[in-house]
Subunit: 337 residues, 2 copies
């Protein structure tokens, strides 16, 4: 795999140096540590929101820091959890006196490290709450509140960031922002499909093998096993297999409103993502559902993996209000200052 | 190459159906023709701006339609010019009574068809002017105004859209908007590098061959021959070869202000684009140039080609003013309504 790369050992740090160089007005390394990214736009009294996770998923996680979204983010190596020390450094930097909400994906390493950082922050009198997003229907059953959720967190976390970020920007309390995040996380479902693996720079060979005429339905964004590996099928057939379990999971009824997120995993052209959205829109219309907004693009990638995921968020007036709020995360502020 | 595809013959139409389904509030097919995209946000008396070109380059061209940017766009098949009839249909739909500016890349097919559409529009009493963007330093020398420019238009056209779109939004006249577009086009330079080819769906095999350990400096976004094919090099070496000709072309002096655009060609992860920006920023700083803004992401792609381009725009107060203006093109309005 050809990559823009110098020494693979320096991949993360060099990527981060380029990131800070591109967005000097908006972000800074907390405590001078590159892997501890913090907003420069602090708002006294506002609940701060932090995320984090492995590198290799841009614009997830770093790209969602910005006004109306997140306040900080710590990242680890490619597909590796950041350490609790980094998370604590971010937490201290971004706290505005109103507490900090951690929003991150449902992976054991992240849970371990974020929970440790939360305990350390508590000892520093910074109140921290957590929302763990896990919405990949291919990776586990829907569970009742309080039960252990085995679903992996994937692109649907974007909706959680967006709504919680908007609630925090409206100066809601930590409990209120967490309630928004939990609600959105619980009303989101995702299914993915992978066509090709990706290559982690330090490893230098593809993360898994898959035949030239094969795809894997339900594969995770780190190459975790999916539901079914089979022959590559026409796009409409793939969508017809992926989308119904997502809609069924949310128990959607006729006239329910939804938001749809088509997410490219890295190497899938935007043209193909839109072609997929055509069939998604047909199925949604056949079920009598109302699409309030559709997002198409790269929101959570896996380096240069070819494939995509489809996420659906069940809406109500509160969630629509937060989706509509203005936001200005660094990855998406390409036009206006 | 694995693609999300049904019948390759329907690739463009199905992609477009998915695009209209995703953005129903903002765009419509002019005259009911899918390949003739027009904004729904008409502003009486405003100069309208149209673009167009081959498909396969999203977010170029269609994605730049929106408030503060473009009013319409016609597209052809993958890497094929749209016809003059389609351009005329778009022109008639978007004209607000103040004339229409065509902004497009320097390719013979596009020039032929846009010029024919202009002549037909003139007969319908719609005044049309043209700005042809060609800024790839690998494809020809810088020429004086009035001389034939042989440079291909690539990602730098984004800057032309942004500034001309902002000028039109301020209700400048057609001559004034064209002057802005011409000025920005003349102060932009780009160089690209390709690692892999892409596969046009109807053709079904890669557009060219390149060794597993090779790259081509200066290759165009349709696979046009570059300056040099050679062994894959470390990222910093690649940047050190690509960027100086761009900076030299613009005759930049110490303390000049610039905007930088790192553009992924399709399959290159955002992480690698940022890693490239690190070296770009170093070279820019060493030359004593001032970076006013940096854009990193996919602005003009070539389906799933791996590679990227670096564009630089020489700034002055007028151009900075237009870069800062708000805009809301459909590909980038992912957060706020």
């Amino acid at each position: 795999m050809k990559k823009f790369l110098n020494d693979p050992e320096n991949f993360i740090e060099e990527m981060l140096e380029g990131l800070y160089a591109a967005h000097p007005e908006d972000i800074m390394p907390a405590g001078g540590q590159l892997r501890c990214l913090a907003t420069k736009h602090k708002v006294p009294g506002k609940v701060a929101i932090a995320t984090g996770g492995g590198s290799g998923h841009l614009p997830l996680f770093l790209g969602y820091v910005g006004k109306g979204m997140l306040d900080g983010c710590s990242v680890g190596g490619v597909f590796q959890s950041p350490g609790s020390d980094e998370m604590l450094t971010v937490t201290k930097e971004i706290d505005n006196g109103a507490g900090v909400l951690y929003i991150y994906g449902n992976y054991n390493g992240d849970i371990f490290n974020f929970t440790m950082a939360k305990e350390e922050a508590d000892m520093d009198d910074i109140r921290v709450e957590q929302t763990i997003a896990g919405e990949d229907v291919a990776s586990g059953p829907r569970v009742a509140p309080g039960e252990k959720n085995t679903r992996r967190g994937v692109a649907g976390i974007f909706f959680v960031y967006k709504c919680a970020g908007a609630a925090a920007a409206e100066m809601k309390t930590l409990d209120e922002v967490k309630a928004v995040a939990d609600k959105v996380a619980g009303q989101t479902a995702t299914m993915g499909v992978a066509f090709t693996p990706c290559t982690v720079p330090r490893i230098g060979h593809p993360s898994f093998e898959i035949g030239d005429d094969e795809m894997e339905i339900g594969m995770g964004i780190h190459g975790e096993q999916g539901i079914r590996r089979g022959k590559l099928a026409p796009a409409d057939e793939i969508v017809s297999e992926m989308l119904p379990p997502v809609l069924d999971d949310l128990a959607l009824k006729e006239n329910d409103e939804i938001a749809v997120l088509i997410n490219g995993l890295g190497a899938t052209p935007l043209e193909e993502q839109y072609l997929v959205n055509r069939k998604v829109a047909q199925i949604v219309n056949e079920r009598g559902l109302k699409t309030y907004r559709t997002y198409v693009g790269e929101f959570a990638t896996s380096l240069e993996m070819a494939g995509l995921s489809i996420s659906v968020l069940k809406l109500d007036d509160e969630i629509k209000h937060y989706l509509d709020a203005e936001a200005d995360a660094i990855m998406f502020k390409q036009f206006a200052k």
